[in-house]
Every structure is written in C-alpha cells, then in structure tokens.
C-alpha cells in the first residue's frame, strides 16, 4: 500500500517536471526577453525610421476578442498619418466610421453623422491619440508613462507597454506592438484588464507618399 502510494507520488512528480519543461520550452520558443543591447538597437532602428517618416498609409484588420464569443469580431479599414500628429483611422467594413485626430480635436464621422470632441481637456483622449500615433510610427518608448519590456518572437520584435497611469490602466492593461526587422509596426494588441483584447494587423503599408490635405478634412 505504502509502496503503491510512493509510486503514484513519484509518477506525479515526473509529470509535473515534464509539464514544467514543456511550458518553459513553449514560452522560450514563443518569446524571449531581449538583452539591454538588443532593446537599444530596436529603439534606435524604430526611432531612425520614425524620424524620417512624414506620411504613412496602410490597410488594417481589427480583431476584437471577447472570451465569451465563438469568433473574434472582425472589421477592416484604412489609416492615414501625416507628420507630426494628424491621424485618420477609417473603418470601411462592416460599418463606415472614421476618427480623425487633428489639432487636439477628435472628429468623428459615424456613417455621415459628424461630431467632434476637444481633446485638449481630456487626458485620456490625449493619451489615446499619443498611443495611436505612436503605434503607427512605433516610436513610443516613453518610460515615464509606461512600463516597457522588450521581447524577441520568431525573428520579430515585440514591445509591451503597460500604462503607469491608473486612470488609463482602467482601459488598457497592456499595449503590445510587433515590429518587423525594418522597425515597422506590423501589429498592435491592446489588452484590457479582463484579458479581452483588440488586435490590429497592418498591411499594404506605404510611407512618405504625398498625401493631400483632403484626406484629413473633417
């Protein structure tokens, strides 16, 4: 009886060790922390690219993940950016809706219904604008506002920004940007305190093409 119990105990221990190894192995494969030198190289690459970026256009697909849903809610659209801080974020499908950040004002066009909001007085919107601009350009390594950590993942770089501001952390627990080797933003993931998230994947990126002001007209 005693022997049998010992055997089970031993077997359980082996399983636990095996499981731990498996978990470690998986996480090593998926993601490793960057060294300080690697993180600095990434910052320099992204900053250099960002500094010479005057305009960006790209398509995006947004996946809203809510744990209780069978499928992520998918929407897609286009974005346009003009230095220093004009951003138009436009959903095309399955609904027509755009937000334009311009001169400290947020202009909303909800399928023809237009409204605007002064962001000057709204800290959250200011930070949201900062996040959106930064997530397009990638240049947001501001550690006074965020806890920043750097990872390598399948040849790409992933940077996690966790807001320090409590009011902001109510909306977003972590903001994660994936960069390709050129230092371009490929993907953005906003994780909510509940672990539900919004993932945005960019494609067809063009940079420094002249963009007419009409794109940014409200």
């Amino acid at each position: 009886m005693h022997k049998k119990f010992y055997f089970i105990h031993e077997q359980a221990r082996i399983y636990v060790i095996y499981l731990l190894l498996l978990l470690c192995g998986t996480s090593l494969n998926a993601q490793t922390k960057m060294s300080i030198a690697e993180a600095n190289t990434l910052k320099v690459t992204v900053k250099a690219l960002s500094d010479k970026t005057e305009t960006i256009t790209a398509d995006f697909v947004q996946y809203k993940h809510l744990d209780f849903l069978s499928n992520d809610i998918e929407s897609n659209g286009k974005l346009a950016f003009k230095s220093p801080n004009m951003v138009k974020w436009e959903y095309v499908k399955p609904f027509s809706y755009s937000v334009l950040f311009k001169n400290e004002t947020l202009f909303i066009n909800d399928n023809g219904n237009k409204s605007d909001m002064d962001m000057g007085s709204n800290k959250i919107f200011k930070q949201l604008n900062q996040l959106i601009t930064a997530s397009i350009k990638g240049d947001m390594f501001d550690d006074s506002e965020f806890e920043v950590s750097y990872f390598k993942k399948e040849g790409k770089s992933e940077v996690h920004f966790n807001p320090k501001d409590k009011q902001f952390a109510e909306f977003i627990k972590s903001f994660q940007i994936t960069f390709n080797t050129k230092g371009e933003v490929q993907e953005v993931k906003m994780i909510e305190p509940s672990d539900d998230y919004t993932q945005i994947v960019f494609s067809n990126r063009t940079t420094n093409q002249p963009l007419s002001d009409a794109i940014f007209a409200q």
Partner: protein, 203 residues
C-alpha cells in the same frame, strides 16, 4: 361636493384604467400559453450590432454584442468601434452581474435602466397572462421581472414590445428587418425621458 367627488372618481378611474382598456384592445381567448422571443436564442451565434445611443442630449456609438451561453444565460457587452469595452453584463436566470462598466458610467440608476432594457431582449420564453387583438396584431400580456409587458406579434414575428406602467407605455422596443430569427434592426426608446438605443446588425 358630490359633483367634485364623482369627477375625482372619474379621473381616478381613467388614470387607473389598464393599458388594454385605454387602447381599446379586445381580449381574445387563445390557447397559446407561452410566446418566445427568438432574436437572441441561438447559442451558436454571436449577435453583433452597430449601436447608436441618444441619451440626455448626447449621442454616442459603438458595438453592441449579445451571446447566449446557455438556458436563460446571456452576456451583453458594449464596446467602442476601436474595441474598448464600455460595459459587460451577465444575465443568468433572475441574476444580473456587472462584469465591467466604465467608472464614469457606474451609476446605480443608469445600470438599472440598462438592466431592465436588456433583460427584455434576452427574455426568451414568456408565459402569457392575457391575449388581445388589434387589427392583424396579436398582443400578449406578459411579465418580466415583475413588470408588465405587451408583446406584439404580427404574421408570427415579434415586432414590438411595450413596457407599461400605470397604464402608460414607458419603453418601446421595435424589431424590424426580420429574417431567420434575426431582427436586423432593433430600437429601444424610452417614452418619458430622452434615451434611445438604436441597433443595426453587422454580423
């Protein structure tokens, strides 16, 4: 004095008159003892709507999501177009739980309004208390969370619901563009204060 008293009685009688009486609805005797609201009844579906909300002079929009998780068990969430969650509620039997709500919106009075409004959407099977007829509509008197409702069924589709209090319509629900148990357009409007929720199916 007697004149005044009888007048008062008439007024009291009129204001206490039931909703069907006020509307001149004819009570009919139908064998149907239950009705169902099929619009959020399929657990394999994610119900996703673009929402426009007009409230107290403000207007805002977002994505309204309903998911049936089991018998008498639904989750209802509202996010911005960019995905940030505004609120997230669970309805399970008689229970109601706030999983998340923005701090600014976390006011008891507002949560209660939303709880009542959305409970109607996910109340699937209802016992019929009385049945009336108005033109080609069959109207079923029901109860949800101890409040009186009238469900209008036209050509086998649930097209309208009224929440009624003191014989008056308080909240109107209109279901339109109905096909395959999905109401592509839903409008919830409060009659005694400025709140309208307009939903357009996108999935």
């Amino acid at each position: 004095m007697r004149y005044l008293l009888s007048n008062l009685l008439v007024i009291a009688f009129v204001s206490c008159a039931s909703y069907p009486k006020k509307k001149g609805l004819t009570e009919i005797d139908l064998s149907q003892k239950t009705i169902s609201n099929p619009y959020f009844s399929d657990a394999s579906k994610d119900y996703v709507y673009k929402a426009n909300i007009q409230a107290f002079g403000n207007s805002f929009s977002g994505i309204f999501i309903v998911k049936k998780l089991g018998e008498k068990h639904h989750r209802i969430a509202f996010t911005t177009e960019m995905g940030n969650k505004i609120f997230d509620f669970t309805f399970h039997g008689e229970d109601f739980k706030v999983n998340h709500i923005l701090k600014k919106m976390n006011k008891k009075i507002l949560v209660n309004i939303l709880r009542k409004d959305f409970r109607v959407l996910v109340s699937e099977n209802l016992s019929v208390e009385k049945t009336f007829k108005e033109g080609s509509n069959a109207i079923f008197e029901t109860q949800i969370a101890n409040e009186k409702y009238y469900h209008f069924i036209f050509k086998e589709n649930l097209t309208k619901v009224y929440r009624v209090g003191n014989g008056k319509e308080k909240v109107e629900y209109i279901f339109s563009e109905i096909s395959h148990n999905i109401a592509k357009h839903i409008e919830i409007s409060h009659q005694n204060f400025d709140l309208t929720i307009d939903l357009e199916a996108i999935k």
